[in-house]
Symmetry: C2
Subunit: 341 residues, 2 copies
DNA sequence: CTGAAAGCGCTTACAG
DNA sequence: CTGAAAGCGCTTACAG
């Protein structure tokens, strides 16, 4: 059980001062070739590594960033983490992952807990509850303290900071237009309740596309799902009571469930019903039929968010008060698979 | 831009010493009621929070643990993280997530980077490359330094430490036996190469079950897949050239792919071919037909691993040299769905 | 070329 | 009841 060796111990062993050891290890020209070599050899032998915590305290920088997401189980968020991790590592940063579990309180606790020097900045996608409450004081506070925050995906206009999003409205518009181009008229939308920012935007895109093509918007064809558990009945009902041409779902769970229920009702996909999903996850790829979808490229979003955050952290030294925040829009892509004709 | 306030600043404002402020905030009885109240009120007003980094340096404890996983994209690992996070948070710990991307080097770099005081302990599942190389020096070193390590899922007997696993052998045995009980004889196995510890164990369980039932083990029915990309051809070939009764796959990707290819070859699942997978992920649940599978309960594994690690971290104060490591076996469960008759 | 001192933000044993 | 001092492990401006 060889414990970590410190500068102090090396100094003692070698009978020099701590300063000398420190400088030697940094190859400072102040120190004689001789001493430097001696110290370095010794340090190597004992596998000396500077204590990160001490460095953090000294530098007021921890080289750690935190990403707060609502749920890690969602493939999209896992993808984002992977992008963040990648870019962070490339820049010598570590990534702390916090889960809000869609809870406002957990989000607040996590932020407050870490805003005390533990990390250099946050990347966050809002929890549902936070979006519903519209209470963002915890985020504002952190920003006011001078800690940079980058929001992604589920963002809000009420906060000024860097953001990484996709154009949800446009992506939904395109997906809907794609279905319309196929000649479909009765296109249903399975979406979330409006307080989920991305759900709302996607709903708007869908409506815009219909209007643009002079298709009447039928409220009966718009299903807004609140509960993430028991939504099968409402989808089944939607499919049963309407002779649909196509379904546009704002996530892949809704899409795959629609397909499963269609099969149950003996509606053939894609022959009798085309389905498009959102978020290019593992389900869309492996389900039968595989699902056409709007691909969000979470890895890219994560990478971009990490880059923006790190740039902000490292430029803050210059303490410019003319904060210029930017919003990066990551392009989406319509991936055609078997579920659309 | 109100910067974080420190004890020093409070002391100055209130014209008392830093010690007095510190003690007042800790409600020390040493300090007069009067001073205490004054300090606490002031601290509250300025929203004082102790600097975590300084505390870590002082206490030699960071209240942060790190989990290193091969891939976050695998649903199973995301599940484990969620379990770790949950238990860690309950105990006041934060979770750093590192991805090895199945690379030995990344694993080593991550560990070395964090072993310098940044965290209190590791939870790790070995990368493929590490398992192949059988080089565990980085892990041994960390343990020798006195930092606790808990391994899970992909573990090795070459290292003495706490472990959380499932009984892969038994689970595979049970799954195979389940198929045999249905009256199936020609049961194929789609598994990984042997150096992946869990793949090997599952293969052994499969073979044991066959032998136990006096079914001859046919090497042609055992497909060991190395490449995670291009394995479709070999599976298709397996299905085409053998009149199979059932397939047991060691993960859900293999299982769902087998089903997809069976459909392509006009083999009906489950009527003509039963399929069982491993790892109860989102694919098994949503694919059509939904897939019967051995459920691993990653959340539970993660929670258990976190608990063991934290216990170890917090008991280390007592510095007992009689290290007694334990291996926790999490029970698995056979989830029956549509892919088996 | 080497080292003592101050400091990052905190805690706590000790003195007064 | 209050505060100066030492210390966690490091860096760096300054003195010699």
């Amino acid at each position: 059980m060889r414990k970590k060796v410190t500068l102090k111990q090396i100094a003692k062993e070698l009978d020099v001062s701590i300063s000398t050891v420190s400088k030697s290890l940094k190859n400072s020209l102040e120190i004689s070739e001789d001493t430097r070599q001696k110290v370095q050899a010794f340090a190597k032998l004992y596998n000396y590594k500077p204590n990160n915590i001490a460095l953090s305290l000294k530098n007021k920088k921890t080289k750690t960033i935190c990403i707060i997401i609502p749920e890690i189980i969602h493939h999209f968020f896992a993808t984002v983490i992977s992008g963040v991790e990648n870019v962070a590592n490339e820049n010598g940063y570590n990534v702390l992952v916090c889960l809000s579990d869609e809870s406002f309180d957990k989000e607040v606790i996590n932020m407050e807990m870490l805003a005390n020097g533990s990390i250099d900045g946050f990347i966050i996608s809002l929890s549902k509850e936070t979006q519903q409450k519209k209470d963002f004081h915890h985020i504002v506070e952190v920003i006011n303290q001078g800690m940079p925050v980058v929001m992604f995906d589920r963002v809000t206009n009420d906060i000024l900071c860097d953001k990484v999003i996709i154009d949800d409205n446009l992506a939904a518009f395109d997906a809907t237009q794609f279905l319309i181009n196929k000649g479909f008229k009765k296109i249903a939308l399975i979406t979330t309740v409006d307080y989920v920012s991305v759900g709302k935007l996607r709903t708007e895109g869908y409506i815009k596309a219909l209007k643009n093509n002079d298709i009447k918007v039928d409220e009966n064809l718009i299903l807004k799902i609140e509960d993430t558990e028991n939504f099968e009945d409402s989808i089944e009902n939607l499919l049963r009571t309407n002779q649909l041409d196509a379904v546009f779902a704002v996530n892949e769970i809704f899409a795959v469930t629609a397909i499963k229920l269609a099969r149950k009702l003996n509606i053939k996909v894609p022959e009798e019903l085309s389905v498009i999903g959102f978020t290019d996850g593992i389900i869309s790829k492996y389900s039968t039929p595989s699902i056409s979808t709007v691909s969000q490229n979470g890895r890219k979003m994560g990478g971009k968010a990490a880059k923006m955050l790190i740039d902000r952290v490292e430029s803050e030294e210059e303490e410019q008060e003319d904060e210029q925040y930017s919003t990066e829009v990551i392009e989406t892509e319509l991936v055609e698979r078997e579920s659309t004709l």
